[in-house]
């Protein structure tokens, strides 16, 4: 199938979205005070595409909900009866997420879908959800997506670019193409490259992650001294995917967990990282070393949320720059 870019007149946007509603449940960014949440399209909901801060929940929360029931069970004398939870197999379309968030999903895909066993619930949601991202109107001071070496198109089915009077739709997948079959063709393809260049040129912060992050850098304690061990940086990160499993009443569920927490993995055996600097180091090592070794890319998309929201202003970019130094005596563990 040939993929061809399309144009969508701004005045037709509402009709376009309404038409999608026939076959899909449509999720759009909606303002709630200063916050932005993805909500289902209903009467009275006004989408906001030019939001200037990243959405308040990372996109992953739609695919890996913070709390998700795995199954229910009944205990009778010596038997346990398992009652399967019904999987949500709704067909969905997300319109208006940031490109870095769509990219973030392709990172979570690796451990969840490439490794065995595959995560069936996650897979189902990925298969059933089409993503139309929108090129950011203005990057934030904390954005550094261009430092991570991925393409802005990664992970999206369609990339929407706002022009005056219309949206340019860069069609990236077949399922994207099917949605926009009837729209007029975009003749001038140079426009999209130009708009992407304009955006990327506005991104002020750059890092080069040339030297590998060093586990035994003697500076780790100093680097992370401020960290309070909350869950903000991991919970808001579009690529962090750790979860815990627990039973309550007759339900087994999983819920987000974070390697920043002092009791992380305690339920399994013990906490192997008793000090906060070890936990903070793990977050950075996982993203920029362990994940890279296994999947050949970084588990960070440069969305800057962890910088923006950290209560004590820890800056992951500064940390990466400082942490590439290996201690002279290698083999230090901690």
């Amino acid at each position: 199938m040939n993929l061809s870019d399309k144009l969508l007149n701004k005045e037709k946007l509402n009709d376009f979205i309404k038409a999608l509603k026939k076959d899909f449940s449509v999720l759009l960014p909606v303002k709630d005070g200063n916050l932005i949440f993805f909500k289902g399209l209903k009467d009275g909901i006004k989408p906001c595409f030019d939001y200037s801060i990243a959405s308040s929940h990372p996109l992953k929360s739609i695919f890996l909900p913070q709390r998700e029931e795995l199954f229910r069970f009944k205990i009778k004398k010596n038997e346990i009866e398992i009652l399967e939870s019904s999987m949500n197999d709704e067909k969905r379309i997300i319109i208006g997420c940031r490109p870095c968030e769509a990219k973030g999903l392709t990172i979570i895909d690796k451990p969840f879908l490439e490794w065995q066993p595959r995560d069936e619930a996650y897979l189902k949601r990925r298969e059933n959800t089409i993503i139309i991202s929108i090129l950011c109107p203005e990057p934030e001071d904390t954005c550094f997506c261009t430092s991570l070496g991925y393409n802005l198109e990664d992970g999206s089915d369609i990339l929407m670019i706002e022009l005056s009077g219309c949206y340019y739709l860069e069609v990236l997948t077949e399922r994207g193409e099917n949605l926009v079959k009837d729209l007029p063709l975009a003749e001038d393809k140079k426009i999209k490259e130009k708009e992407k260049e304009i955006l990327t040129s506005k991104i002020k912060r750059h890092i080069s992650i040339n030297s590998p992050i060093a586990f035994d850098n003697p500076l780790w304690k100093e680097i992370s001294q401020k960290c309070l061990g909350c869950g903000i940086c991991t919970y808001l990160c579009p690529t962090c995917y750790c979860f815990d499993i627990a039973d309550e009443k007759n339900s087994r569920f999983r819920c987000w967990d974070s390697c920043s927490f002092s009791y992380f993995t305690k339920m399994a055996a013990h906490q192997p990282r008793p000090e906060q600097f070890q936990r903070y180091r793990n977050r950075i090592m996982h993203k920029f070393s362990y994940f890279k070794e296994r999947f050949n890319e970084f588990a960070c998309v440069g969305c800057g949320r962890c910088i923006r929201h950290c209560p004590v202003s820890m800056d992951i970019m500064e940390v990466i720059e400082k942490s590439g130094v290996r201690s002279q005596e290698s083999g230090v563990k901690g």
Partner: protein, 265 residues
Amino acid sequence: MEISEIASELLEKGEVSLIIGYDKKGYPCFIKDKEETKRLVFNEGCFNNLSVYLTRIKEKCAIVAKPCDVKSIIGLIQENQIKREDVVIIGVTCPGLNLKKCLSCDCQNPSFCDYTIGEKIGEKEKMDKFAEIIEFEKKNPRERWNYFKNEFSRCIRCYACRQVCPLCYCETCIVDVSIPQWISKANSSSSNFIFHITRALHLAGRCVGCGECERVCPMNIPLSLLNLKIEKDVFELFDYTPGKDVDLKPPFQTFKKGDYNEFIG
């Protein structure tokens, strides 16, 4: 004198081995080296209440404190978490930052400090701190319940509100215990409610209103409103304001004849 001069002297003389202060961006910073003390400043961006670090740091240190931050240092001393002689307090006079709490702040000039930096600031007109909660109390119980239920429903249980609170220093928090599980780890409307009520009540008579919990919440949950209600109740029932006088016993550490005890029945 400037903060940096005092800090440099303290390090030089070996009175402390660490300074907890703010850098030019207003971010918390830790200084051990005399040469680095130049980085220390106080400006309108210094939002953090640095006293949260005092229970985490195991060495003798000096801390830069706004007048309102001194209250939580007093709280920590009253609760035997730190010793007065183990911390050097470098107080700064504060004209008010761009935060809601500053509009009703009752202390521009620090007391209880070893050093004071900045010109003395004259009395300012201030808002009644309890005005907001008095207004809120007018709602009926169902309206109040629904308001908080709706607000708490956004909570992602990142516990930043707890981690950033200087008085939330328990090594094991009730929400972290999994055997037995007292409060569900997953966020749901009921477990969020229990977490928040527990957090607020555990700070009754202790919360100094520094507002850090609300400031850092990524979901904009109005935690201060709940804290304020409890602060007001403690004031009305026990005539006590946390963080004011280090020699007073906080109401839940002591007993006075005639204390409110209707709840005992």
